[in-house]
Amino acid sequence: MSDNMTRRDLLGKVGKGAVLLAFGGGAAHLIRKADGQIVWQVDAAKCINSRLGEVGVEACNLCTTDCVVSQSAVRAVNEYSKCGRCYICPAYYQVKSAVDEQGLPSEKLCPRDAIERKLIGESDPEDPANNFYEYIVDEAKCDGCGKCVMGCKEPLGLGSIQLKVRHNLCVDCNRCAIANVCPKDALAQLPAEDALEFMDLKSLT
């Protein structure tokens, strides 16, 4: 009986040692190739709404419909330094709509009216078409439907508006639900520091 017990003890010890060794080895291997913090981000060069050459299609709104957060963590972001500050912004106005009495399109593009248009800089009240306008996305209203991103894309606009994962809203799903459905595989996991410099993501491919 006691012989049996010691054999069992020995087996247990060997087993435990083997398992601990395997854990250590596995952990060491994983740590050696470890990243820092990684987050999800939209790659603008792949996203249908901002990718060049994808014209004449309806804006893709899977970021709106498939995010696990009820109002998607993906929002439209205007990089102001790249914005044309146009009088008639193709992301703000539905440029195909009828012209109103001021010569501006009568309909807005955003279904949630999330973009604010503001006169900026040195302005000439006589010639509104020659002035500059700032377009500010109200992120509390935006749900990342991508219509304005599609509108701002070259050649209509300069492509200053892009869809971006907002890291304060993203719940960091292990596998992003949008990534599961994105037809262009445009959601990527990146080191946090790269993902923050998001407008340069075009070079990351």
Binding site: K16, G26, S160
Partner: protein, 330 residues
Amino acid sequence: MTPGETRREHHHPLRRVLLLLALPILLSLVIAGDLSGQAIQYERPVEVAPQEEDIGGGYVTPDVQKPKPRSYWLEILDVILLAIAMGVSVWLVLSRRSRKWLLVLTVACLGYFGFYRKGCICPIGSIQNVAVSLADPQYSIPIVVTAVFFLPLLVAVFFGRAFCGGVCPLGAIQELVVLKPVQVPNKLERALGLLKYVYLGLALWLAIAPSPERDFIICRFDPFVGFFRRTGFAHMLYIGGGFLLLGMFVGRPYCRYLCPYGALLEWCTRLARRGVTITPNKELDCGLCAEACPYGAIEDMRAVRPKCLYCARCYAACPREGPLAKQKVS
């Protein structure tokens, strides 16, 4: 156009033929016009973005908001809290044998790891990341995830499933709804218990699949994460609600039959020398502990450690342990 003119046009036979011929052309023009459809001929007025000096009037380009993710140090703190919580769980169950304090820990961990951290950090889901990271040279995971995956297994190798008792938020939410648990017949219990291996295998298979097919089903079909986030897909919320309803009568069904991490913990626990014990020289053979165990983890008056979920109900029900014993003394 006056009515007279129209009538004259109408009466002219050649005009009528011409009009008929022109109609398809006109129609196609209208359709084409509809397609291009622009009320104004829109053309981008600028080639490059005007900068501050072009805009003038003291204009300053506003900064683009770049909200940062949760600080990495806070994520490391989460791992430390996980380790502490497991330590407390081991101490409360094995040393204090206190069901009451374990419940306090359960509620605290459900609040923090569940509702505050929204179900992540999660060792259960990390199985997939670890698997992909081992299989795919392109994929790597943060050290935090490696730690979250290995810590509960390490604890299990020495002390059993302390993570399941009071620490895991998925377990905790089920632990708190156990109302009138039935004893599941042994054969059925064993058969259902195999499901988690199937689930684990499937999850590993889909996780290590190359990118377009890659899918993390453990996370996608996490039944309770929707409650923690207080938002989620309707079907998952219903499934989660179903598990909680079932959990009133079958103790912790997700943990016992589906949890793929539970499968790993079971095997690690087989190596543990310490764990919940029915002490031979103190026992009364009264069977109150087996009756109290909602998870079928006491068989033939002995604790089956791989199945023990560290809830300490057996100690609470024991006449020679916990509150009952203290009552006798006083």
